[in-house]
């Protein structure tokens, strides 16, 4: 006859075995999971903050631009105005956000555009040779769009500015140096009508 103690012992062992089988194997270090939603929300928040800041800065600059422009004129675009319009704007690595220099360059272009209401321009966004040729096309467009957005915040009507991208396909400077890359991350401006 089995002692009660022994029977209980066997039962406990059996239960432990069953539990052991049903329990998942020891936790292996699983690849780190990232909560995409919270990341995207955070990114959207950051974007909206920087957009709001940019809008405030643009509003402040817009008054100065309007004053600098003066009344609209039918006079031909002067060589110096043409140089201002045609000057290239540069960007940081993998960035479409406008730098301080880029903003002041655009604040120089806007009065010329406001003074000559028939002037239409095309902005071509470019990228350096680093990274995916295909992603760089999209990046170039984002740079051109950012420049256009700032011009329109400064009062230049949207329908007077076209944007295109050449990605990394048309380097301004050949070579695989940081200097060459910096000169190739750019937006170029050309007059397409009214000049």
């Amino acid at each position: 006859m089995l002692s009660i103690g022994r029977a209980v012992g066997i039962a406990v062992i059996a239960a432990a075995v069953v539990a052991g089988c049903s329990r998942k194997p020891a936790n292996r270090p699983s690849p780190s999971r990232i909560n995409t939603d919270s990341l995207l929300r955070e990114q959207a928040r950051q974007d909206s903050i920087s957009r709001a800041n940019a809008a405030r800065a643009a509003a402040a600059a817009a008054a100065g631009v309007a004053a600098a422009a003066g009344p609209p004129t039918n006079a031909p675009v002067s060589p110096s105005e043409r140089t201002i319009i045609g000057s290239t704007v540069y960007f940081d690595l993998d960035e479409s956000a406008l730098t301080e220099d880029a903003r002041s360059a655009l604040e120089g272009k806007a009065p010329v555009l406001l003074r000559h209401p028939n002037l239409r321009i095309r902005i071509t966004g470019h990228a350096d040779a680093q990274g995916s040729d295909e992603y760089n096309l999209a990046l170039g467009l984002r740079r051109a769009a950012e420049a256009k957005r700032y011009l329109s915040a400064l009062g230049v009507p949207e329908n007077r500015v076209e944007i295109v991208t050449m990605g990394e396909e048309r380097a301004a400077v050949q070579g695989n140096t940081e200097e060459a890359y910096a000169l190739n991350r750019r937006a170029e401006f050309e007059v397409i009508a009214g000049g």
Partner: protein, 546 residues
């Protein structure tokens, strides 16, 4: 609210499109299902090794090239090791009629299998011998395209013959017209005198000679004019036919090589149980042109003729390629499709920023990336219905591009910069169920782009920046990333149909070229000889032309 509305609209549009698939599915030119491989006893060799295979010399011209092509294909497969012995030795080892191979001799050389091709009418009889068992394992007749004859020599003569017959008829009729005019000149004219009476001028000798001179001169002038234009016409026609001839020969040569590659692929199936990938092509971009090259690096040629094109991607039937092309005058880029055999192209998308197109797994749709001032997002368009465009991603101003379908067509992987630096995400084919595929540490710069989903569905290859750019792959199931390259810069991976080899643009040899990587052994081989080659796309298996 607006977002939800758009999602619903997209879903409805996609649902409508899926219903519309039938029209595309009715296309009778779709490939027939591949024959199911039957049960068979394969070559026995230790697993995890690559068996040594001997390709015997082939008796015919250009038999040596036949042997060379098959031998090289087997080498490039990375699944077997062709044993290279000089031809004299091998001819001595070839049994004469009715006799068997000296298997023990081959066995002592470590040979596991012997491939023997013998020319027959219209092709080759190919047999595989298992050395360890000492008998023939497989044998099959393969049709190989014959080269057309050269008609250059007789070409100009035959055109000239036809032309001279035609010219004689023309000459006769011109002569008749001029003769009639000359006869009129010979007729004595009537004139009136001062009183109004008519009289006949009798000066027949002068009139006769004038008419004769007229006839001769006019005819001579006509003949001269005609000769110049006839010569020009013969030259033109001869040139046109010669060009057609050479195009025919090129396509026949390509077809002949492809049918030999198919032999290699089947021999590989006999040996390893899995068909090879020699009968494939790789598309890539060089100098702005879309080019195609056979899997062994031969027949490298440009498909597009001018302009700047990017991102070629094969149709699942491997007979056409979709790509994006820059338009003149800053008008942006558009999606176009080109037939490989004919070189005929047509426009698929509108103008603007339209880039990185791919066909859906059934070839009925093209998914591409379309840019505007408010970001770059994935769009889906019916190949035969370019007006029905559905938006698949809503990146809120971010960049979304380089789509790649899972082999079952249910999911799309793509890059997105929605979390600042581009990462690889997946969505369902209707645009729902967004998932991050490549884990990353927020704030740390880890750029990932150019994804390509493997044909077996197991993994996605992509490029990643760790200082420089290297190719990685990530397993779909456990999300375990694995680095595949380290030498030079390596970008833009594209899977072969075997889900094992990748075409990659790499600077490992100095200039940027397309290289082939065997992801199992790590072996690299250079495919192209065009500095600056990039953006490669590996085709599906090429089906034989009917």
């Amino acid at each position: 609210m607006n977002q939800r509305y758009l999602t619903v609209a997209a879903f409805i549009a996609v649902a409508a499109a899926i219903t519309g698939t039938r029209a595309c599915a009715q296309d009778t030119t779709t490939t027939p299902p591949a024959p199911r491989p039957g049960v068979r006893l394969g070559l026995s060799y230790p697993s995890g090794t690559t068996p040594k295979v001997l390709v015997m010399p082939v008796d015919s011209t250009p038999g040596d090239s036949v042997r060379a092509i098959i031998q090289r294909d087997l080498d490039f497969s990375d699944r077997v090791t062709p044993l290279v012995l000089d031809e004299e030795t091998l001819r001595g080892m070839t049994p004469t009629n009715g006799q068997d191979y000296n298997y023990s001799l081959f066995s002592s050389l470590g040979v596991a299998a012997i491939v023997q091709a013998r020319p027959i009418a219209n092709g080759y009889r190919v047999a595989l011998y298992d050395v360890s068992v000492g008998k023939r394992l497989e044998s099959r007749d393969f049709r190989v395209l014959q080269m057309p004859g050269n008609r250059d020599a007789t070409l100009v003569d035959s055109i000239a013959g036809t032309t001279s017959r035609r010219e004689k008829v023309l000459h006769d009729s011109v002569y008749r017209v001029l003769k009639r005019r000359a006869d009129l000149m010979r007729r004595p004219p009537l004139k009136k005198d001062t009183r109004g009476r008519r009289f006949v001028v009798r000066d027949s000798v002068r009139r006769d000679s004038a008419a004769t001179v007229y006839l001769e001169r006019q005819l001579a002038r006509w003949e001269e004019d005609r000769r110049d234009s006839v010569d020009a016409s013969i030259t033109r026609t001869a040139t046109r036919l010669a060009r057609q001839d050479s195009a025919d020969r090129i396509s026949a040569a390509e077809g002949q090589r492809m049918s030999l590659h198919r032999i290699s692929d089947e021999v590989e199936r006999w040996i390893t149980g899995r068909a090879g990938i020699a009968a494939t092509r790789i598309a890539y971009v060089h100098g702005g042109l879309v080019r195609v090259v056979d899997s062994d690096g031969e027949n490298d040629r440009a498909l597009t003729r001018r302009g700047l094109s990017m991102s070629p991607s094969w149709h699942p039937r491997a007979d056409r390629i979709v790509y994006s092309r820059f338009l003149e005058g800053g008008a942006g880029t558009q999606i176009e499709e080109i037939e490989v055999a004919s070189g005929k192209s047509r426009v698929i998308s509108g103008r603007g920023l339209n880039i990185t197109p791919v066909y859906s797994h059934d070839g009925c749709y093209v998914v591409y990336s379309s840019g505007s001032e408010s970001g770059t997002d994935l769009m889906m368009v019916g190949v035969d219905n370019p007006d029905a465009i559905q938006r698949l991603t809503f990146g809120r101003g971010s960049d979304n591009g380089s789509p790649t379908f899972s082999p079952d067509g249910r999911q799309i992987a793509f890059f997105s910069s929605r979390s600042r630096f581009p990462q690889i995400y997946t969505i369902d084919a209707d645009g729902t169920n967004l998932q991050l595929l490549t884990p990353f540490t927020p704030g740390v710069r880890s750029y990932r782009a150019a994804p390509d989903w493997s044909p077996d569905g197991r993994a996605v290859a992509y490029e990643q920046q760790n200082g420089d750019f290297q190719v990685w792959m990530i397993n779909i199931r456990d999300k375990e990333p694995r680095r595949l390259t380290s030498e030079g810069e390596n970008e833009g991976p594209s899977w072969a149909p075997d889900g094992r080899h990748l075409s990659i643009s790499s600077t490992r040899g100095g200039s940027k070229q397309i290289w082939i990587l065997d992801t199992e052994s790590g072996r690299f081989r250079q495919l192209t000889r065009n500095a600056g080659a990039r953006l490669s796309s590996w085709s599906a298996m090429l089906t034989p032309t009917p």
